[in-house]
């Protein structure tokens, strides 16, 4: 579990309005994500008519998000593309960097920013706030009609309203928790199999190396799965954000 602990790198006693704002390993990895993203995007800024591999890769990502917004929200959602793209790329990059085998360099250890509820929660609240602001800005109190689907029988309106309201309010939690849990669970799974490898080798029994080998094979498989999960979770976060934005912009 130590892979999830946040430790100050510098400025352990920095404070702002009485709160500790130390530059931690988590903050350091956020900067790494920023740097990697910036370098990646820089490859797409060559703006050639016939793109090279790198430029094509960057354009694939922007096209992917732009198409997602276009499909889920429509032309009105175009101004939210930068936000959803930033969100998607940040989460994808964080997930993948967290899987990077940095520990082969002594003294370093990969840290998954998105395995922290303090990060995913903030991202979720940010998305939810944008949905609320856009919804009330565009539709005023009419936004509440989102909670009463078309064709609801008159008698059922209070009940449906309540259910829809609860499901709406649960959104930020499900959004933030989903990413946090998926990342944490994946890393714990890898951790568990890794400890099996070590314990199998140390057990001294005849069955030990067999367990170690099987666990190692499992690590390979789970690592591949985790790369998939890293991409899927980033996609799910961005997709749900755009779906919620669609609710706010187009109601039902």
């Amino acid at each position: 579990m130590s892979q999830f602990s946040v430790n100050p790198v510098v400025g352990a006693d920095w404070t702002l309005f009485g709160h500790n704002i130390a530059f931690t390993n988590s903050a350091a990895f956020m900067l790494v994500i920023l740097g990697v993203l910036w370098v990646f995007m820089l490859g797409g800024m060559k703006r050639q008519l016939v793109p090279g591999r790198w430029q094509a890769a960057v354009e694939t990502m922007t096209d992917f998000v732009a198409n997602m917004i276009e499909a889920n929200i429509g032309p009105k959602g175009k101004k939210f593309t930068p936000y959803v793209f930033s969100l998607f790329m940040f989460i994808l990059c964080a997930n993948l960097i967290g899987l990077f085998p940095l520990a082969v360099i002594p003294g370093l250890h990969a840290f998954t920013v998105t395995s922290h509820i303090t990060v995913t929660g903030v991202l979720a609240i940010m998305s939810f706030s944008i949905v609320l602001i856009v919804g009330f800005w565009k539709h005023g109190l009419h936004f509440f009609s989102l909670f009463v689907p078309h064709g609801t029988p008159f008698i059922l309106i209070p009940l449906i309203f309540l259910i829809e309201l609860v499901s709406f309010l649960v959104r930020p939690f499900s959004l933030g928790l989903r990413l946090f849990v998926a990342m944490t669970a994946g890393h714990i799974l890898l951790d568990v199999f890794a400890s099996f490898v070590i314990q199998g080798l140390n057990s001294g029994g005849a069955i030990g190396p067999v367990v170690s080998l099987l666990s190692f094979v499992m690590i390979v498989g789970v690592s591949a799965l985790e790369i998939l999960v890293a991409a899927i979770q980033a996609y799910v976060f961005a997709l749900l954000t755009s779906l919620y934005l669609n609710d706010a912009i187009n109601l039902h």
């Binding site: 500790n20 995007m41 940040f90």
Partner: protein
């Protein structure tokens, strides 16, 4: 689980650095770099669409040129055929006229010749009658010594020739 155990000590640091980094990503990457990359994609798509349109236009143009060429060739062929036909007809007509004229001339000359022949025959016959009449008078005079009148001899010769 450190994510939950540590919340009370790290929340401010996590929030601050996350907002800082995400704000930079949003402004620099989301709002500055991404629209430019999207612009490149749009420019490329527009260029491809424009090129396709131009190619299609060129193809249509070449098709219409081809059609015009074929039509013109057809007209030319037809014109040439007509000219040849007209020349053939004219030649035929000319030949026919010449043949007809020549035929008429020949017929006329034949008619003249026939007339002349008939004339000559008439004259020859008359000559023969005269000669015969003379001979008759001569013979009669020698045989009988009687003189036969010229008119009488002639009518007798005519009567015997006609028989």
């Amino acid at each position: 689980m450190p994510q939950i155990d540590q919340i009370s000590t790290i929340y401010a640091s996590q929030l601050l650095w996350l907002l800082l980094v995400f704000a930079i990503i949003f402004v620099v990457i989301g709002n500055w770099m991404m629209p430019k990359i999207e612009g490149t994609i749009h420019a490329r798509n527009d260029k491809i669409q424009g090129d396709l349109d131009a190619a299609e236009k060129a193809r249509d143009e070449s098709a219409s040129t081809q059609a015009a060429y074929t039509a013109e060739m057809d007209t030319a062929h037809r014109g040439a055929h007509d000219a040849v036909q007209a020349a053939k007809d004219a030649a035929t007509r000319d030949t026919e006229a010449k043949l007809k004229a020549a035929g008429e001339a020949v017929a006329e000359r034949v008619a003249h010749a026939e007339v002349a022949l008939a004339d000559a025959r008439g004259r020859a016959l008359a000559e023969i009658e005269n000669v015969a009449a003379d001979a008759v008078r001569d013979i009669v005079e020698r045989l009988s010594g009687a003189k036969v009148e010229e008119g009488e001899a002639l009518s007798a010769v005519r009567a015997s020739l006609a028989a």
